[in-house]
């Protein structure tokens, strides 16, 4: 699966304790910035985007996910960050912005050329569509496990 090729090891955070979507975005974005994948203003841009155009996705199973991301101008090199949350954190529905979506998994996408990364995007979609994989990710205890699940 292409996801693991783009997943930044340092930006995999399991069982993150956070009470708001802003916190999750700051932590994940901060890690991607530390590793040089994204620019200084990526986190602020991601927070603003989430506030105006939320990325919560109801998956119809036990857990939901959010996929925060922004314009390519804030990205240096493509990478993904992944966080599983200790408890559900409220994001809002992508197509119905007033609807709450309690999320347990957050995959942050930093893409510098989205159209040429269609396989990676499709493998993110494939993960979202597999309740089994989502369940395993939410319960993973180590980064190594996460990579195994995604291969």
């Amino acid at each position: 699966m292409e996801i693991r090729d783009f997943l930044s090891e340092e930006a995999v955070i399991l069982g993150l304790e956070a009470s708001t979507s802003e916190e999750v975005i700051r932590v994940l974005g901060g890690k991607l910035k530390e590793q040089g994948y994204v620019k200084e203003d990526f986190v602020d841009a991601a927070l603003e985007r989430e506030a105006n155009m939320p990325t919560g996705l109801p998956l119809g199973g036990e857990y939901n996910a959010a996929i925060p991301h922004v314009d390519i101008e804030y990205v240096n090199r493509s990478a993904l960050g992944l966080a599983t949350l200790k408890e559900d954190v409220i994001f809002y529905n992508m197509v119905e912005n007033d609807v709450e979506v309690p999320c347990r998994l957050v995959i942050m996408l930093a893409l510098d050329q989205p159209k040429s990364q269609i396989e990676m995007l499709q493998s993110v979609a494939a993960v979202l569509q597999d309740p089994d994989v989502i369940g395993k990710l939410v319960n993973a205890k180590t980064t190594g496990e996460v990579y195994n699940i995604l291969s």
């Binding site: 105006n52 109801p58 996929i67 992508m94 197509v95 893409l111 159209k115 269609i118 995007l121 979609a125």
Partner: protein, 94 residues
């Protein structure tokens, strides 16, 4: 006759890319010639002026574009994909 589908999302990157690909594949299977144009929600009016048959969106549209709109979330979540593919094909076959 080639149909034009505007595929829009918040930032014209991740979600519209996945949706556009899925739409192209579904149309190919039905023998429908389609042109997909990916854009941000804010850019829709520009593409509308050039002529389009349908908008598939993964973000909330805050205006009425005057042409059919289908919510494309299913292409990401996998929930209800068959239903929206049918809806899209029905609109384009018209």
């Amino acid at each position: 006759m080639t149909k034009t589908v505007i595929v829009s999302c918040g930032t014209a990157i991740a979600t519209s890319t996945v949706a556009a690909k899925a739409i192209e594949e579904a149309c190919k299977a039905e023998g429908i010639k389609v042109n997909t144009k990916q854009c941000k929600a804010a850019e829709i009016p520009v593409y509308l002026e050039q002529g389009a048959d349908l908008i598939v969106t993964t973000s909330q549209l805050r205006f009425d574009p005057g042409i059919p709109v289908v919510k494309g979330l299913a292409f990401l979540t996998g929930i209800g994909t068959e239903a929206i593919v049918k809806e899209i094909i029905d609109i384009l076959k018209d």
